[in-house]
Amino acid sequence: MDDLLREFVTETNESLDMVDVELVRFEQEPNNAKILDNVFRLVHTIKGTCGFIGLPRLEALAHAAETLMGKFRDGLPASSEAVTLVLATIDRIKAILDSLEHDQREPEGNDEDLIVELQRMVERIAPSAAQHTVGTLAPQTLERPLRPGEVSLDDLERAFRETEVEVPAKPATTAPADASAQDDDGGKTASQSIRVTVDTLEQLMTMVSELVLTRNQLLEIVRRHEDSEFKTPLQRLSNVTAELQEGVMKTRMQPIGNAWQKLPRIVRDLSNELGKQIDLEMHGADTELDRQVLDLIKDPLTHMVRNSADHGLETPQERRTAGKPGRGRIRLSAYHEGGHIVIQIADDGRGLNTERIKAKAIAQRLATEDEVEKLSEAQIHKFIFVPSFSTAAQITNVSGRGVGMDVVRNNIDQIGGSIDVKSVAGAGLNFTIKIPLTLAIVAALIVESGGERFAVPQLSVVELVRTRSGGEHCIEKLKDTTVLRLRDKLLPLAHLGHLLGAEQAGDVENGFVVVTQVGSQTFGIVVDGVFHTEEIVVKPLSSKLRHIALFSGNTILGDGSVIMIIDPNGVAHAFGSTVTSQMTAEGAEAKHVVDDEQTTSLLVFRAGSAEPKAVPLALITRLEEIDARKIELSNGRHMVQYRGHLMPLVSLSDKVRMKDEGAQPLLVFSDGSRSMALVVDEIVDIVEDHLDIQVASDNPGVLGSAVIKGQATEIIDVGHFLPLAFEDWFRRKEQTARRRPRSVLLIDDSPFFRNMLAPVLQAAGYDVTAAASAHEALTLLHEGRAFDVAITDIEMPEMDGFAFAEAVRGDPRTANLPVIALSSVVSAEAVERGRRAGFYDYVAKFDRQGLIAALKEHTDVTRAA
């Protein structure tokens, strides 16, 4: 039998068994999108494989089933009838597979019955589409654009018709295959390789580890008894054990070329089907990979190559018009780099269509227009990894159902890898997959810190330096940071003990520095001792420990003990925020590690006097310098037009002079949609230091004094100035605005809060109407009751606050009503979600003043509008 066909049958049978199980689970839990995604993906893979192997009957069946499941995925109900139908289809596919296995060809026959039923089911559960299909053969149109995963009715019709003409199989190609199959089945190939489950290998590996452990114990015993007669046989046992260990490890490794085997044929078939000329280049096919990893990336790679061929590469004419050679190129390469296996898939096609991804991201509500505008191209391209995101305008048999890239990312995530995309419009697309050491076998340097041993992957170790006070290499201190003078460079150092939270560091002066390189960053890790290098099998960390960024895994050493593997990337991150103050987005993740150090980023500035003042940098939203002439005096207050709003300016003290010309430095603070700015004379520096207020202050607006970089510095209490700016501002506005009581719609399911908040709001001069549920509130609004503002609880049964805000926004009659969220949970995430749902503001449930401030602001905004 054809190798390809045999593999297909085995794999598909496995997949189908899973589909069976998953479908049944899905029927029980119709809301579990994850199961459905799994099923959909499996069927999609079957369909795809059938397509290139030339099995039209199977392909048509799988396609029809996939379409039906696409409807489920779009949220239409999965009736048991529909699931039964899909299961029946799977049984039919299995029957076909069985005869495929015996006869090496699809059996004669017709699956029209099932396909028609599947299509009828699709129409039935999608009623809007069904109305247009009754009794007509004319091209049908849908009054809305197709959603991802949907197929136009025309496509369905086409698939349906194509199934009728598939019966004559290609006799020319199958006949030789039959002949060779008879030879093969004689047992020749079977004797050369066998299929062994990974579990069996795992178990072997475990037993070998045990054997190594026992051998080491024996060696230890013999060492104590000189001239033991056991010595010679034990030596042999030892050698054999080592070889056995190596052998078992080898069984897990396979060249990546095994995963690429199918690709040339896929590309060839695709180029015929699509009328494109495609060259497939493969480099580094002998790069070895752990078998488990290989299995997981096989499908993603296939998907990506198909995508490149289908969407990436243009037709020969398009290419020539664009000044490129008519033949497109897809290049696959694999190599080891810095403890990772890197796989690249590059094509020289048209690249990603940034505008279309943008539009789609907005349409799918993944981001708002404003957000998208702020994103870089590279960030926009990342949207392609979001589930159900597909930009293919036309859904073809090849790809474009929105399964592609999210499957890829899912599989790669599973093995702890990462995927990146680089696209240059018109020049091509390049995917880089990085798979970390996990599951692989690596050489590691065993080091000691604080009495514990750790493994540092050898690949990132550049050199080892022994340091001694007064010796050739010595550790020097620059304030709190330590550096190593190595040849003519200063190498920043991180003390492993410190990073791991050890209370007292070991002897800092006399130790070892592991000079480590991560990307372009070189630094030293100070350890107490260095032992030896050892080949280790990386085992994933327990899920309870996986959050520790400093460790990438753990391993069992030859002597049987478990040690942690240091992740040099994690160390580099910890570095970024302690030693240097390069606060990159990624660096922020490592921040919690640094918290023990108790340093704070502070902005040092001068205002009103020569003494430095400081404020925690985290509190400041932005530093601005504005043209002093833009400062306006309005209503007796200094204001500046800032991002379309008037922003009040507050002076730290009377001594600060507003400049008349030139640039006026400002510290901008934002809280929700409000912004205010503190006027300062000069911004001096941003420093990292311990914030230890030593002398408290009675002076309002000053928390106290602290020593910052060796100088006594006043720490400013921002909390004092913020309300100062706003209360003041509101009072002035209020005098002119208070004419009729403003009406508030208060929605909270808890009578306790309704009763508590209503009087508070009434006391503040509002006319309050309370509703016990979102539905009740919507009814009031639809009856035509006018409100100036609505305040809603978030956590409510049936319809929550988010849904309420969306409903209000979605109805043109109420779209302009400001809605303020009231919640006991105020997390950045919730606020962000609230903003997306259309909340004007988000206030903590017990923050009475915040609520009234928010109310004032929003009722005034509507009044002004």
Binding site: T206, K544, L545, G560, S561
Partner: protein, 154 residues
């Protein structure tokens, strides 16, 4: 509840002493009982995690039951024991003071936790059996293993 039901509701527990209190773990969840040796402490780990060790080629994460239950640290020098359990594909060891016997208890006689039970105990215990000589608290292994995650979230 009829007597027949009682007959059917017998459940088996492996008993363990932790800080003088008797606990019962459902026998179906218990893989093995072992003396933890060569435990590697994990820096930066949640406090409930006592360390990791190699048990016949598998890496086992040790959970300090005293820490979980809010009990005092152990003062005697007796070697601790661990009850091996599995969660998903991962192996865990629950550190206990000593292991007792296997008891068959009628689930119908299990009483709910008293309302004034220490919340740390109440979180992992799903009821109490009144034995002749003392009380046995039934431990829900999944809830015990949930604690590590909670510590991370906090």
């Amino acid at each position: 509840m009829s007597t027949e039901n009682i007959q059917q509701n017998l459940k088996e527990y492996v008993t363990a002493l932790i800080g003088g209190q008797l606990f019962g773990m459902p026998i179906l969840r218990v893989q093995d009982v072992f003396f933890p040796e060569r435990v590697t402490r994990v820096p930066l780990a949640p406090p409930e995690i006592a360390g990791v060790l190699n048990l016949r080629g598998r890496i086992v994460t040790l959970i300090d039951m005293r820490r979980c239950l809010g009990l005092e640290r152990r003062e005697d020098d007796l070697p601790p024991m661990a009850i091996g359990v599995e969660l998903g594909a991962e192996s865990y060891g629950l550190l206990i003071d000593s292991v007792g016997e296997v008891l068959k208890l009628d689930d119908g006689a299990r009483e709910p936790n008293p309302i004034n039970l220490d919340p740390r105990l109440a979180r992992v215990c799903v009821g109490i059996h009144r034995l002749e000589w003392q009380l046995l608290m039934v431990v829900d292994v999944d809830r015990v293993l949930d604690i590590g995650d909670k510590a991370i979230a906090a």
